[in-house]
Each structure stands twice: as structure tokens, then as C-alpha cells.
């Protein structure tokens, strides 16, 4: 995953957390505030009731007599907007404030309780003064408005908070990722250019420092393995090739001593051929050892596949005529690519050797190559027993031998080497089974240097 996306994840997470925090704050704050306001309101109603009790105590008889206008005349100005109902103990209504519009109020004495008056939420308190029962109430309008205001202001700051959290998260993320990005760049340099270098361990002792130490230990192990593989390749070359050279020189000397005696020369020729086969085998194995160690060296440069193909094709045509195999070819004058000609010749040789090996008498071999902006594509196809879909990759394995061709010569490394070489060039080699009756190997080589 890329560093920027990690930063982005960090920022997004911060923003989501901020929204959650704000939501939680609202969920806690709104009920608490409402509860507190209700409490205050109830207190206020209790005080109002006490004031009214004080006032009505003196005029109780008059009020009980039901004289209209008595209660209204007694109300202090600050209580005139309250809902007020005064009843006698027997339930007679002695006074109703105008805003009640004739509604009847009920309630338990000494307690505040919610009510709905004329469709609006309200709070009531009921008190008793001698023979009188007082219901004092007020609307909850201001309380609801406060709640709305509070919710509104929370919603207003929400985008600001989200933006701030996102920006802050981005900043923090970058700060956290920066040492990792530096580490990545340094590790890349070590793995590609300077395998002897190690990552600088920061003195912080934090997670990044520990990661650096772990990476450095991995580099140590990798370098040891790499050096061992490189040493093997060099040592094995020397150890295997020197005795071969002695044998080869001995065979040459014997050949010379034997003069023109056919029996001697025939034996010498057999020895020479076998030593050549052995040399090829050793070369192949050493080449694969280099591939495995990741240190296959190519002498790549701007090259033309065409002359290489011409030569190998010439070999093929010479043999095909003998084996009653017909060949067709089609490619342009030039096939420019970026490659090591010696290695590419080896790939082509292996492919054509493979084609002639598996084409039955009367069969056909076809070579088509095209050059494009990306590079060269060369298709070597032959008729013959089809390769099963399941075998498509297996044929590129080492020492793989086709079940159908147990009697054909070769040591089963050809296709494996050809593919390894093609890939080392930044190209590829694969099998295409699309055309019925044909087995097609497709070789691709890039036009520009790999990487």
C-alpha cells in the first residue's frame, strides 16, 4: 500500500472519529441541558405557587364564594402569563386564566408534571391552599427552542470539526509515515544498488527503529545467501570446467597422435562429442545457478533479432528437409529490440530444437515475427501432438520431459533456460494453444531496456 493512501486512511479515520465524538457530545449534552432546564422550571413554578398561596390565603373565602374577577385582580403582573386554574376541593372551577381557553387542568398536589395544553407541551404544578387547589403551569416553548439552538450549533460546527480532524489526521499521518517512506527508499537502494549498505537505525527506540533493525538483519541474511550462491557459481565453474578442459585437451592430443586412422578417429570423435555435451550441460546448470542467485548478467544493447533468427532458421530448414517437415516463415527486414544477442540466439536455438523434436514427419513448422513500439514478438509454431492445458506451465519446468516423447533426445532444460533468459531481458516466453492443431511458443523481447 502506498504512503499517501495510508495518510488518507489516517485522515479519514480522524474525521469519522470526530463526527462520532460530536454525535456523542450532542447525545449527552441535549438531555442533560433539558433535564437541568426542567428542574429550573419546576423550581420556578414551585416559587410561583408559593407566591400565589400567600396571596390567596388572605382572600380564600372571597375566592371560594366564586365571585368572578377576584382571582384575576389578585395576580401579580409577572404571573399573569402563566396558566392558572383555581378549583375548590369539590372540583368547582373558581378561576381559569384566559390562555387556557376553558381547558380543565388536573394534577397531584405538590408535584410537577408534564401536560399538553392546547396542543403545546407544558409543565404544571399543583398546590393546595386551604380549601383551594391551584394549578400553575407554563409552556415549554423556550426550553424546546434552547434544545433546537443547541442542536443547530452542534450541526454548524460539525463540518468545521470534520475538516479540522481530516487536516490534522493528514498532517499526523504524514508525520508518522515519513520515516517509513525514508526507510523504503533506503531499502530500495540497498536491494538494487548497494547490497553492502545498511539502513541507518534512528536513535528513537520506537517502532520504526525496531523495524529498521529487523530489516537490517534480513539484509544480512540475504547478502550472505547471495554471496554463497555467487561463490557456488564461480567455484562450480572452476571445479567442473577444469577437469573438462583436461579431458578435452587429452582427446585432442589423442586425435592428433591417432593420425588418419578411422577407427581411432571415430573413438576420438565420440569422446569429443560427449565432452561437448557435458560442457553444454555444465553451462546450462551454471546459467540456471546464476538465474537462481538473481545474478544473471546480460550484455544487452540495441540489437536486431532478424539475423539471429535467419541463422537458426537456416539450421531448421536444413533439418526439416531431411525429416519431411515443411517450414514457413514470415518476418520483416529488421526486428529491433534491446537484448544480449548471444543469449537470444540460445533462446531461439532451444525453441527451434524443440519444434523439430516434436514435429512428426509430414508436419509443419511456422515462424512469424513482428516488430512493434513495445518490442519484438516471435511466434514459433509446430504441428504435432497437442500439449494438454494442464501441461502448459509444466513444460517450462526443469528436467520436464513430455510423456509423448520419451524417445526424443535432450536433457529437459531447454525451455526452462529459454524462459529464464527471456524474462531476464524483461520479456517473456509462453505457450499459446489457441490455434487448433498447432503448438505455438511466443517469445517477447522489449524494445527499450528493462526497468
Amino acid at each position: 500500500m502506498r504512503a499517501c493512501s495510508l495518510k488518507l486512511q489516517f485522515a479519514l479515520l480522524s474525521a469519522v472519529l470526530a463526527v462520532l465524538a460530536l454525535g456523542l457530545a450532542g447525545a449527552v449534552l441535549l438531555p442533560v441541558v433539558r433535564h437541568r432546564q426542567l428542574y429550573d422550571l419546576d423550581e420556578q413554578l414551585a416559587r410561583d405557587a408559593a407566591v400565589l398561596q400567600g396571596i390567596f390565603a388572605a382572600k380564600e373565602a372571597e375566592i371560594l364564594a366564586g365571585t368572578p374577577g377576584v382571582v384575576a385582580g389578585l395576580l401579580p403582573p409577572n404571573l399573569r402569563l402563566r396558566y392558572l386554574e383555581v378549583e375548590a376541593l369539590d372540583g368547582r372551577v373558581l378561576h381559569r386564566s384566559g390562555n387556557l381557553r376553558g381547558l380543565d387542568l388536573t394534577g397531584e398536589v405538590g408535584r410537577a408534571h408534564p401536560a399538553t395544553i392546547a396542543g403545546q407541551a407544558a409543565r404544571l404544578r399543583t398546590a393546595r391552599q386551604g380549601e383551594l387547589v391551584l394549578h400553575v403551569g407554563t409552556r415549554l416553548g423556550t426550553l424546546d427552542k434552547t434544545q433546537r439552538d443547541l442542536a443547530m450549533s452542534l450541526l454548524t460546527v460539525l463540518p468545521l470539526v470534520v475538516l479540522g480532524a481530516f487536516g490534522g489526521g493528514l498532517l499526523l499521518g504524514r508525520r508518522a509515515v515519513r520515516p517509513i517512506a525514508a526507510l523504503t527508499a533506503a531499502a530500495e537502494t540497498i536491494s538494487t544498488e548497494r547490497p553492502g549498505d545498511r539502513l541507518p537505525v534512528p536513535p528513537t527506540g520506537d517502532e520504526v527503529a525496531r523495524l529498521t533493525e529487523v530489516l537490517n538483519r534480513s539484509f544480512d541474511r540475504l547478502q550472505r545467501a547471495y554471496e554463497a550462491a555467487a561463490r557456488f557459481s564461480a567455484d562450480a565453474s572452476h571445479q567442473l570446467k577444469t577437469p573438462l578442459a583436461v579431458m578435452r585437451a587429452g582427446v585432442d592430443a589423442l586425435g592428433k597422435m591417432g593420425g588418419q586412422v578411422p577407427e581411432v578417429q571415430a573413438e576420438v570423435e565420440v569422446l569429443r562429442r560427449q565432452s561437448r555435451r557435458l560442457t553444454t550441460m555444465v553451462d546450462d546448470l551454471l546459467l540456471l545457478a546464476q538465474v537462481d542467485a538473481g545474478r544473471l548478467e546480460l550484455e544487452s544493447g540495441p540489437s536486431d533479432l532478424q539475423p539471429l533468427l535467419e541463422r537458426v532458421w537456416e539450421d531448421l530448414e536444413a533439418l526439416a528437409a531431411e525429416q519431411n517437415v515443411s517450414v514457413e516463415r514470415s518476418w520483416p527486414e529488421a526486428l529491433p529490440c534491446h537484448a544480449d544477442p548471444r543469449r537470444v540466439a540460445l533462446i531461439l536455438q532451444n525453441l527451434l530444437e524443440n519444434a523439430i523434436k516434436y514435429t512428426p514427419p509430414g508436419g509443419r513448422i511456422r515462424g512469424v515475427a513482428t516488430a512493434g513500439a513495445a518490442g519484438v514478438e516471435c511466434r514459433i509454431a509446430n504441428t504435432g501432438a497437442p500439449i494438454a492445458a494442464a501441461q502448459c506451465e509444466a513444460i517450462f519446468e526443469r528436467f520436464h520431459r513430455s510423456g509423448a516423447g520419451e524417445n526424443v533426445p535432450g536433457h529437459g532444460l531447454g525451455l526452462n533456460i529459454a524462459r529464464a533468459l527471456a524474462r531476464a531481458h524483461g520479456g517473456d516466453l509462453f505457450l499459446d494453444r489457441d490455434e487448433a492443431g498447432w503448438t505455438t511458443f511466443v517469445l517477447r523481447l522489449p524494445r527499450a531496456p528493462a526497468g
Partner: protein, 229 residues
């Protein structure tokens, strides 16, 4: 030529030394780098045949010392490693040529004598004469009695091998080895086909002939009394 041969494998040292002596060179054999340096101090050699992988000090160290000598000996490096880096390092350090083990003794002798010619100021020939046949290696053209003849790339390569050593018998395997870097299953048969084709194309007055030496291989015979050779 006076040749210093430095090779740590005793058998190979003796074999190469014997072959070089038989070819008319005077050979001193040393088994390690230190002995080679000592030999270079007291005697002058025209050519060095040097194994890269030596005990004592490396072949490349010896090469460096040899390179500073005047007159400078020509140097042929022998190595087990066909890796690009080694080859480039050897040639950069001043080697004149490079041969990978195992090698055909004839190839080594040919390289040593061609290096010797170059060392004496002779240019590497690009035109090889053979009777009325002329082969221009650089321009890859062949003429027979002034008439250009069309050869395929492989036919040309094969003819060039014969023309570099007229009269020498080449076994089929040796020819294969020179044409293809890597042995393959059908190479000897392919060489036979190419020789048949070449014979047909070289059919003209005054042209050399490629003859079969029964059981031994092939050789190119220059026409009797013809120029060149």
C-alpha cells in the same frame, strides 16, 4: 614465439605446453601467480597464456604487471567462467583475447598465433585468399573468380573456418563447436548438410575443394598451383 604459460592444473599445463611446443613455440610453464611474476622479472616473453583463477595472486594481477612491460607481451586469458563481468574485466585489464574452458587445442593454437601476428604489427586479415576464391570477413562477401557468390550465414561461417586453416582436418564436432556456442542434438547432421551445400556452391574453376577424410572429418584443399594458401 616465446610463451609463458601460467596454469595451476598440472595436467592441463602439460597438455597445453606440449601442444604449443609441437606448434613451434618455446614454452615456460608456471603453476601460480607468484612464480609467473618472478619469471616475468627475469625473462622477456612475447606471449602470455594465463589462467585467471590462480593460487597465490590472481591472473588479473599478473596481467597488470605484464601490461606495464615494454615491449608488451600479448596475453591470452583462459578461464572457466563465461560470465560477462569476468570477460569484460579481463579485456579491460589489457588481455588481447579470451578463451573459455574447455577449449579445443586447435583453437588455442590459432588464437596464440593470430595474437602473435597482431603483436608484430600485422593487421588482422579480413580478406582470406584461397585460389580463385576470396572471402572478405568484414563485409561478409565471397567471390569466386571475381564473381560474387551468395552464401547463407551458416555457409559463410563454415567456409571462413576452413579458409583460416587450409589443409587442416576438422572433425565434425570441432566444426559444430565453432558454429554453435552450445551443443544441440542435431548439430553434426546439420554440419554435414551445410558442407554438401557449400561444395555445390564452390563448384568452379580454380576453387578450393572441401574433401572428406574418411573417419576423421573434412579438410579444404587449395587448387594445385593456384595462388594464395
Amino acid at each position: 614465439m616465446k610463451v609463458l604459460l601460467v596454469e595451476d592444473e598440472p595436467d592441463l599445463g602439460v597438455q597445453v605446453s606440449r601442444a604449443l611446443t609441437a606448434a613451434g613455440h618455446v614454452v615456460e610453464l608456471r603453476r601460480d601467480g607468484t612464480a609467473a611474476l618472478a619469471a616475468l622479472k627475469v625473462e622477456h616473453f612475447e606471449a602470455l597464456v594465463l589462467d585467471v583463477n590462480l593460487p597465490g595472486c590472481s591472473g588479473l594481477d599478473v596481467l597488470q604487471v605484464a601490461h606495464a612491460l615494454r615491449p608488451r607481451p600479448v596475453v591470452l586469458l583462459l578461464t572457466a567462467r563465461a560470465e560477462v563481468g569476468d570477460r569484460v574485466a579481463g579485456l579491460n585489464a589489457g588481455a588481447d583475447d579470451y578463451l573459455t574452458k574447455p577449449f579445443a587445442m586447435a583453437e588455442l593454437l590459432a588464437r596464440v598465433s593470430s595474437m602473435g601476428r597482431r603483436g608484430q604489427g600485422g593487421a588482422a586479415e579480413s580478406v582470406l585468399p584461397g585460389g580463385s576464391l576470396r572471402l572478405d570477413a568484414q563485409r561478409r562477401r565471397v567471390t569466386l573468380g571475381g564473381q560474387s557468390i551468395a552464401l547463407s550465414p551458416r555457409e559463410f561461417d563454415l567456409l571462413a573456418i576452413f579458409m583460416q586453416a587450409p589443409g587442416r582436418v576438422f572433425s565434425r564436432d570441432e566444426l559444430c563447436e565453432r558454429i554453435w556456442e552450445r551443443s544441440h542434438d542435431y548439430d553434426t547432421r546439420t554440419v554435414e548438410i551445410y558442407i554438401m551445400r557449400l561444395r555445390k556452391k564452390l563448384d568452379g574453376p580454380g576453387a578450393p575443394t572441401i574433401e572428406t577424410v574418411r573417419g576423421c572429418g573434412y579438410t579444404m584443399k587449395l587448387p594445385c598451383g593456384g595462388p594464395g594458401g
